[in-house]
Symmetry: C2
Subunit: 87 residues, 2 copies
DNA sequence: AATCCGTTTAGAAGATTACCTAATTATCTA
DNA sequence: TAGATAATTAGGTAATCTTCTAAACGGATT
């Protein structure tokens, strides 16, 4: 959960999540959306994966990334609890 | 919004928000909950304030901090949107 | 098996963050 | 106004983060 919050702190990583919300994408496709080298994007993907916000799956030469909503839902719960009136 | 996500990345700062959810507190009271110097806590409070996650108000010698749920609600919206099925 | 393509790993530079101690500011009280 | 208390600001250091280039890796194709 701490890893998730840390991963979410970076705007590039949040943008990657938004992209993956639309559809699954390969690492290269994701990288094409940013003015940044592929190794840098790969690092961000690893950070998101470590936080379990995304999952990956090899498909031939490509590695396809997709959103894992489980941890996102947990985070959502944290925020919901925070704006709850009592206790 | 980016400032809020960055502020939320630190566990001490999230814990401060949890404390302030229960009741408003002075900077000193907040600091008493952590094994950390007051200047360090003051730095964290400033970070949270800058992100508009909390507001402060002087009351005599004390400065009372309280939660500002507006930005928390915005973040909640971000997560909600992220787990939404389409669009 | 040689090579190509997509991707990750390694290593390093520069920026940012988190924490400390010391000094300063603001307010209250005697 | 002098002293005490609450909190912040200043300055410094160590650790972490973001990004880059160069090199290595895993499958697919020839």
């Amino acid at each position: 959960m701490n890893d998730a919050f840390k991963a979410l702190a970076d705007p590039t990583r949040r943008q990657i999540l938004v992209l993956l919300k639309e559809r699954d994408m390969s690492a290269g496709e994701i990288a094409d959306h940013f003015a940044m080298t592929k190794p840098s994007i790969s690092h961000h993907l690893n950070s998101l994966k470590h936080a379990q916000l995304i999952v990956d799956q090899r498909q031939g030469q490509n590695i396809i990334y997709s959103l894992n909503t489980t941890v996102i839902q947990e985070a959502l719960g944290w925020f919901l609890n925070m704006i709850q009136k009592d206790k």
